[in-house]
């Protein structure tokens, strides 16, 4: 196992992974109260989407402005299960039809719609969280990529898909909870997800799943498929005339990104306690692209840092200058796109890293062992990426 990992990932990449793990598993939980940590958990759910975007946009060149759709689908699947558990006949005795979710009762539904039935089962729900977005993505992707719709057109069509789904969810409120979403979720198999201890557990589950996705993404990027994606982005025709079915690869990577997003959405529902159509629309979908762009569209780790950083900035800004944060966000987006197209990761590898290396290769030293030169300087990135610990970063 150990050797397999070291075969797949360079020691250098592993070091960076370890630093992120250290940050998320040790530093943040120790330095934050559960309220802030729960916020970090929420931000991390966006980084699932950002990782997916690194794969399909950064590597595959496919910009989707509808990732919120998949985030939402995953989140709704989870929310449906939790809502059913919360809607026991006892808890909903006040309704005209006890035992169904409250919003259905308000909309004169007298029995649970058929597509809600299977969500009584947790196993089915887990399956659905993956399968529903994957199948939806598959349909969209097959229709588009087999006909070679790409680039800007793909972006705009995914945007329209997001618009359609939002209107549908809001309009069909008897089945979906409408604009309010599915709220007031309480327990998972009797385990109260609103308590502090549950929030800790969910945070760590979220981190674990995040690393699962990170490893999967890294595996894909380091495989031949990753190089093919780069090749496709550059010269699609050449790849095609080297005997590859380009659309199959695009479909695969788009579905994979959708699945990542859906996992993020499900974790969002669990940690925040509700799901609403405001994640399915165009605005959140574009914001998620921005997280990815800020972190660096070619770096999966960058995507995680990007999602964390932008959201921390958003929270901080809106707490201290509520009327100014849009200016700051707008400027950030423009700045990143114009000055740092490869985002934080680009700045890191082109500006910071060489200097640190130079620092370590300074006079008086013989060439340091390879392990030293990579692991020691790499200790800084996590800290400088960690806005909660500014003093640490400067130290």
């Amino acid at each position: 196992m150990n050797s397999m990992i070291s075969n797949l990932f360079s020691r250098y990449q592993l070091t960076h992974m370890l630093i992120l793990a250290l940050l998320l598993v040790v530093v943040l939980p120790l330095s934050m109260d559960i309220f802030r940590l729960n916020l970090v958990g929420k931000y991390l759910t966006y980084s699932f989407v950002a990782i997916g975007l690194v794969l399909c946009w950064g590597y595959g060149g496919i910009l989707s402005l509808g990732q919120g759709v998949f985030f939402g689908l995953g989140g709704y699947c989870m929310a449906m299960f939790l809502k059913l558990e919360a809607s026991t006949p006892e808890a909903t005795a006040i309704q005209s039809t006890p035992g169904i979710p409250d919003f259905m009762d308000w909309n004169q539904l007298t029995e649970l719609p058929w597509f809600w039935q299977p969500f009584h089962s947790f196993g089915f729900t887990l399956l659905a969280i993956i399968a529903v977005p994957a199948i939806f993505a598959l349909i969209v992707a097959v229709a588009m990529f087999k006909r070679r719709v790409g680039g800007v057109y793909f972006a705009i069509i995914t945007q329209a898909v997001a618009a359609i789904l939002t209107i549908l969810i809001i309009g069909q409120q008897g089945f979906t909870g409408g604009v309010n979403g599915i709220t007031d979720l309480r327990t998972l198999h009797g385990w109260d997800i609103r308590t502090d201890s549950a929030k800790y557990v969910l945070y760590f589950v979220c981190v674990a799943l995040l690393f699962g996705c990170l490893f999967a993404a890294k595996y894909v990027i380091n495989s031949k498929l990753g190089r093919l994606l780069v090749a496709m982005r550059e010269r699609e025709d050449r790849v095609r005339f080297s005997g590859y079915d380009v659309s199959a690869f695009k479909i695969f990577i788009f579905c994979l990104a959708a699945v990542f997003s859906a996992i993020g959405g499900a974790m969002f529902t669990l940690q925040v306690g509700f799901m609403s159509p405001s994640f399915v629309g165009i605005v959140p979908s574009i914001e998620m692209v921005i997280f990815c762009a800020v972190g660096g569209r070619l770096s999966v780790l960058g995507a995680v840092y990007g999602a964390l950083l932008v959201n921390f900035a958003k929270t901080t800004f809106s707490e201290s200058f509520p009327e100014l944060w849009l200016f700051a966000m707008g400027a950030l987006f423009i700045g990143v796109v114009m000055a740092f197209p490869n985002g934080l990761a680009g700045v890191w590898s082109s500006q910071v890293e060489p200097r640190i290396k130079a620092l370590f290769n300074k006079p008086g030293r013989t060439t340091p062992a390879a392990t030293n030169s990579t692991s020691a300087p790499a200790a800084t990135p996590a800290e400088s990426f960690n806005p909660e610990e500014p003093s640490h970063a400067r130290g």
């Binding site: 309010n180 979403g181 979720l185 809106s318 707490e319 509520p322």
Partner: protein
């Protein structure tokens, strides 16, 4: 359904109206202080952000995003109320300090900020939220961390939380009186229901339909358009074909502007009242964007209009204009938001403590004779007893009050027979 109010002449009411006068006469401030109960240490036993001189509360509205348009008035009203309360000596001798958070028109952000206000800032009360969606998002947070939310908007009902005081009207209060009036006074027989496609308009129209059908009258059409829809020519054509007596419109946000402008442009002169346009969603705030000349002649049913001719309201409007400029308008929700801090103050003083549980226990029965809308009282179900008025829109953007319910109307968030 409508309970006769016998509280106008109660001793408590007299004291409140006395307080109201003091509001107008700052010279009486010292007296107000003197009338406060002696402070004991049990004013705060639950670790709220209360010191010897200050108490922290939260204001949680959207100041950015699409809802900022609507929520700004509420923020202004809450700040004004807090300022006035502080000028009168605060609550239990403490000055109110507010922490304002931006919900950014985004429901999860509301939940996040609500949690911050309760968990980190330990605020003793939160005045905030506007849309039902934002309230639904914060509700579990308030229930879990036992906070107190004063929610200002008229809304669909179907909710009653121990942690929320609903200072706006729930749907039946607003709707039934209005329909009765239009049937009785305008001889309306055929209604066309119209709304933005989400829960409040749908639930409200459901109540309206049930009531209309109970009266033996007919609904000739019911239509919903997505939020943010800007093209209403199709539905206007349907209205023309169906020839209803009343167009009952619950369109919200930017769609409102489009709807009324297009209605007028399509040759439906609302001042002719055929069809009569009746709304429960357009306050003076919305008319600002629609333009008075585009909605002149439409009727609205709410509990408050800026033009209400009473002394409380005059003082309130003057104070509001003095603080925010002469051009400012005040809508129903703005007034309801203004009630929040005052209702909280009264409950805290009745309880003699900031503790949430004690404030909650003290809340039912709290009455406010100083309210700009007149007199309100908190019901056991945490909604307000209030009157419903009907206003006719004028070209200058104000409503002319043409009717006022005789008695206070009982709030009934779970109306039997209307679900």
């Amino acid at each position: 359904m409508i309970l006769k109010s016998r509280h106008y002449d109660s001793p408590k009411g007299a004291r409140r109206s006395f307080l109201r006068k003091m509001l107008a006469i700052p010279a009486a401030l010292a007296l107000a202080h003197a009338s406060l109960p002696a402070l004991a240490d049990d004013a705060n036993t639950t670790g709220l952000a209360v010191t010897k001189d200050t108490v922290k509360v939260g204001i949680l509205h959207s100041v950015t995003g699409t809802m900022a348009i609507s929520e700004t008035g509420s923020v202004q009203a809450e700040k004004l109320a807090i300022e006035q309360i502080n000028a009168m000596g605060g609550v239990l001798g403490r000055k109110i300090e507010y922490i304002q958070e931006d919900g950014a028109s985004d429901w999860p952000t509301f939940a996040e900020k609500a949690k911050k206000l309760l968990v980190n800032d330990k605020t003793a009360a939160v005045f905030g939220c506007w849309t039902s969606a934002s309230r639904k998002a914060v509700l579990p947070v308030f229930e879990q961390y036992n906070g107190m939310l004063y929610y200002p908007t008229f809304y669909e009902g179907l909710e009653q939380s121990p942690n929320v005081i609903y200072t706006g009207q729930e749907a039946t209060q607003q709707i039934i009186e209005g329909i009765d009036w239009v049937v009785k006074n305008k001889g309306a027989k055929k209604f066309f229901l119209l709304g933005s496609d989400y829960i409040w308009p749908r639930t409200s129209n459901k109540i309206a339909r049930k009531h209309i059908e109970k009266l033996g009258l007919s609904v000739v059409g019911e239509e919903y358009y997505p939020l943010g829809h800007t093209q209403f020519n199709s539905v206007i054509n349907k209205i023309k074909l169906k020839k209803p007596d009343v167009v009952y419109a619950i369109v919200v946000g930017g769609s409102n502007v489009a709807f009324y402008k297009q209605l007028k442009a399509a040759g439906i002169d609302m001042t002719k009242e055929h069809p009569l346009v009746f709304t429960i969603s357009v306050t003076e705030d919305e008319i600002l964007g629609i333009g008075g000349e585009n909605i002149e002649g439409a009727y609205a049913a709410m509990k408050y209009f800026q033009s209400l001719p009473n002394d409380n309201n005059k003082a309130f409007v003057d104070a509001f204009k003095a603080k925010y400029g002469n051009d400012i308008v005040i809508g129903d929700v703005t007034q309801a938001a203004y009630l929040g801090p005052w209702l909280w103050k009264a409950a805290v003083e009745k309880a003699g403590s900031f503790d949430i549980d004690k404030v909650r226990a003290a809340s039912p029965g709290i009455e406010l004779t100083t309210a700009p809308e007149g007199y309100v009282r908190i019901h056991e179900n945490h909604h307000l007893w209030s009157k419903t008025r009907i206003g006719r829109a004028k070209a200058d953007g104000q409503y002319e009050v043409v009717y006022e319910s005789k008695d206070l109307i009982e709030p009934n968030p779970f109306p039997a027979g209307y679900q």
